[in-house]
């Protein structure tokens, strides 16, 4: 469960988050929508501990990451829009490194490696260096590894950028399975059709404030039958447009 209470973040004069409050329940896939610079990535970075909030609280399973960082990091999986991977490790070595990092027993790493590499089409690339992989294969590798320690909370920034339809479907199925098994997912995307397709609830953020919140159907009803795209454009219109 993710609980965000009156979260504020400022960078000098810039207010990236302005009193944001939100709760995401277990088993829920929550989609964060908003124009560039609206505060989506900042929210995720505060939840992961990469950025410290100016005020307010961000709780993961009832605990603030600032209070018990290592325990929380064991419960979360974070996939940034351009993930960092060790270029000079092979695909298999990277997977094993990740498993050791979370103290996963060797037999389970081997078992998961076989299963995940088959599922993500990485078997034929298992001996390649990470630097030799295409963008799509790198994304598949990061998904294959991030789920290895079975994180209950997934925080994903722009998961579908530059991916082919096969990989998009693969990831959508993976996310749905994760929420069905009781996991919580907070993801950001600019692809509104995907948000409508997979999200249990959607939040639209603009200039650090939550301007709309609900299931896609609720938002549709509440705003006079507007499509998600029309609603998004209406609520996040730049000044003077």
């Amino acid at each position: 469960m993710i609980e965000i209470q009156n979260l504020c973040k400022t960078y000098g004069a810039l207010r990236a988050l302005d009193n944001l409050s939100l709760t995401i329940r277990p088993g829920e896939l929550f989609c964060f929508l908003g124009p560039n610079g609206a505060g989506k990535t900042t929210t995720i970075k505060i939840l992961t501990g990469l950025v410290r909030a100016t005020s307010g609280r961000a709780l993961v399973n009832g605990t603030d990451i600032q209070h018990d960082p290592i325990a929380i990091k064991r419960q979360i999986g974070y996939i940034p829009d351009t993930p960092y991977l060790y270029e000079r490790l092979t695909v298999t070595e990277f997977f094993r490194f990740y498993g050791e990092l979370f103290d996963i027993p060797e037999p389970r790493i081997a078992e998961e490696l076989e299963r995940n590499f088959t599922r993500f089409g990485l078997l034929e690339h298992r001996g390649a260096l990470v630097k030799e992989l295409s963008h799509g294969l790198r994304q598949r590798l990061i998904y294959a590894t991030t789920f290895l320690h079975n994180p209950r909370i997934m925080l994903i920034d722009e998961p579908f950028v530059g991916l082919d339809p096969y990989t998009i479907r693969l990831i959508k199925d993976l996310l749905r399975t994760h929420t069905r098994e009781g996991g919580t997912i907070l993801l950001t995307t600019h692809i509104l059709a995907i948000a409508e397709d997979i999200a249990d609830r959607v939040g639209i953020i603009h200039r650090g404030r939550l301007v709309a919140l609900g299931t896609p159907e609720e938002l549709h009803r509440k705003h006079g039958g507007d499509s998600l795209e029309d609603l998004f454009l209406k609520l996040t219109r730049p000044d003077g447009a």
């Binding site: 960078y11 950025v51 290592i70 000079r88 092979t90 070595e93 050791e100």
Partner: protein, 568 residues
């Protein structure tokens, strides 16, 4: 501690990956670099050995110098390691893409800090050992010491390396965490700190003391000698420890090794504690600093005038490159450190009474100073000028498809590099000759040579940077260490030796009375013609090859001389 174990496994895997990448490189390239490195080491060993023989020829004072030179050598290396530790720790703790990855995984802050400290010390170590090996081999050869001496030195070097690199890591951790953000307050504090450090060094190494005449002369000629040989200085421990073990005094040798090892371990412990307490806050500060909403335009009033002086496309590229340089602390800090140390040394030449030395010594020092500045120029040319075209990376299309033609893009890069390096290097040599009080002929020759070196280093680095352009590579270190980068530094060093030696030798032979005025003048005319010819070749040829290479490689063929126009 599973995360720490995982990091070790990852490092092992990475080394294996690096070996694999190396094996995939061209054999000629690997062979060329290996042979060059071995030749360089061998030559350096010969030079050091010759220097020891030279000092030996002075009798008492020379022998005293050789004995203490070992401690002084390690003090110098220690200071370099600290500076290197500051630069590499900053980039690995605060500028590395790996840190956000590690921060969201179950690592404690102390684990991340210690891991990055070891990594920074590792980066610094190859250059350290590259210099240490020929020096100690020459020393052992000259003193007819057993080969065990080299082994003991390498053993002692490991804690010494971690100790001094650790000082750098600690300094940067505390500076990023606690230095005020306001540039005015920060610069004032840094200035006061620098003055206090200089005063501390002066007090620790006073030029006069209750010494014998010979000791006085030795200590006044070689700065830092007293500090290096102080019983509480790690450079004294390492020098004494190695010589004791080599001469069979095991217990005394092990005592000094224990002193070094315990100090290095204590430094590691302090880094772990300081990292646990400050790293997260320091990283937040450093990240917040890079996310400023409003950034002050760098040198805006000065750069505005460029548009009036230069064509707008060249002015635009130069302005962009200046801003990029000043906004990357790793880049400008290296330039400041190298040139700053040289400036500090040149401004102190009179404090060491070098201006009172006989003419032949002062003429040698002038050209040694030209050599030192040229070596730094070659190194910085390879580090910053050579990779600048490659570092345009995926943005290069923006330049290529703009009305700026390829010759003008290269001209912008070359002119900026030359203006910057020539200004700094000519100023430094002007300070050096002024402090030494040498005659007008030698002053003019030294300044002409350094200006020519600046020109050629920039020509070579810009030209070869275009010949070996790699737009896929984002890591400057990888570009610099590529075949083209290695060739560039070899050619820069070769050129530098080829133009400095004739002038240095000519002036030296005249000062010791071997050359008469007529022969000297003829020699000077020939050396000047050689300088002109070689400089033109080293500047223009690489630029022309670079241009041809860019035209051949680029998928989009922009016009060669005129701006494209839309005919629709």
């Amino acid at each position: 501690m599973p995360p720490a174990k995982a990091l070790l496994t990852k490092t092992r895997f990475q080394l294996r990956g690096t070996r694999r990448v190396l094996l995939e490189q061209s054999r000629f390239k690997v062979l060329f670099i290996t042979v060059f490195a071995l030749l360089f080491e061998g030559l350096l060993c010969l030079v050091f050995h010759d220097a020891f023989r030279f000092l030996n020829s002075f009798g008492g004072a020379g022998l005293m110098m050789i004995g203490r030179l070992f401690a002084l050598f390690f003090l110098g290396l220690g200071m370099m390691l600290t500076v290197s530790g500051i630069v590499t720790s900053y980039s690995s703790l605060f500028g590395s893409d790996e840190i956000p990855f590690l921060l969201v995984r179950p690592f404690s802050m102390s684990t991340i800090t210690v891991y990055k400290f070891i990594q920074a010390a590792g980066f610094a170590s190859w250059a350290f050992f590259f210099v240490v090996l020929p020096f100690i081999s020459a020393y052992a050869w000259h003193q007819r010491l057993s080969p065990l001496f080299v082994l003991w030195t390498l053993l002692f070097s490991i804690p010494f390396l971690f100790l001094f690199a650790g000082f750098g890591t600690l300094a940067i951790l505390l500076a990023v965490r606690w230095l005020p953000r306001s540039p005015r307050i920060r610069n004032t504090l840094l200035g006061i700190g620098g003055l206090l450090l200089a005063a501390g060094l002066f007090l620790a190494d006073p030029p006069t003391a209750a010494l014998s005449d010979t000791q006085f002369n030795v200590t006044s000629l070689i700065p830092g000698l007293r500090l290096a040989a102080h019983p509480l200085s790690p450079s004294f421990w390492i020098a004494e420890g190695i010589t004791s073990l080599t001469h069979g005094d095991t217990s005394r040798g092990l005592l000094f090794f224990a002193a070094l090892l315990s100090s290095a371990l204590l430094t590691g412990l302090v880094i772990e504690r300081v990292g646990a307490r400050t790293f997260y806050d320091a990283w937040q500060r450093s990240s917040a600093g890079s996310a400023r909403a409003h950034r002050r335009p760098v040198l805006l009033p000065v750069l505005r005038h460029l548009r009036g002086l230069l064509p707008s496309d060249i002015a635009a590229i130069i302005t962009k490159d200046i801003r990029t340089f000043f906004r990357d602390p790793v880049q400008w800090s290296q330039a400041v450190v190298f040139f700053g140390l040289l400036a500090l040394y040149f401004f102190n030449l009179r404090r060491f009474n070098y201006n009172l030395l006989p003419d032949q010594w002062r003429s040698a020092i002038v050209f040694l100073n030209v050599f030192a500045v040229s070596a730094v120029l070659s190194s910085l040319g390879s580090r910053f000028v050579y990779p600048q075209l490659s570092l345009e990376g995926h943005s290069f299309w923006l330049l290529v498809l703009s009305p700026a033609t390829i010759p003008r893009i290269m001209a912008a890069k070359f002119l900026l590099a030359f203006a910057a390096t020539a200004t700094v290097s000519v100023t430094l040599i002007a300070v050096s000759v002024n402090m030494l009080g040498t005659g007008p002929a030698i002053n003019a020759a030294a300044i002409a040579v350094i200006a020519a070196v600046s020109l050629s280093v920039c020509g070579l680095s810009t030209g070869l940077g275009a010949v070996f352009i790699d737009l896929e590579q984002r890591n400057p270190a990888a570009i610099v260490s590529s075949f083209g980068g290695t060739l560039n530094i070899v050619l820069c060093l070769g050129y530098m030796l080829a133009v400095i030696l004739p002038f240095g030798v000519l002036f030296h032979l005249r000062e010791i009375g071997i050359l008469d005025t007529h022969t000297f003048r003829n020699g000077l005319a020939a050396a000047s013609a050689w300088l002109l010819l070689l400089t033109l070749a080293a500047t223009l040829l690489p630029l022309l090859f670079g241009l041809r290479s860019l035209y051949r490689r680029l998928p989009v063929k922009p016009n060669k001389a005129t701006c494209p126009r839309n005919n629709n």
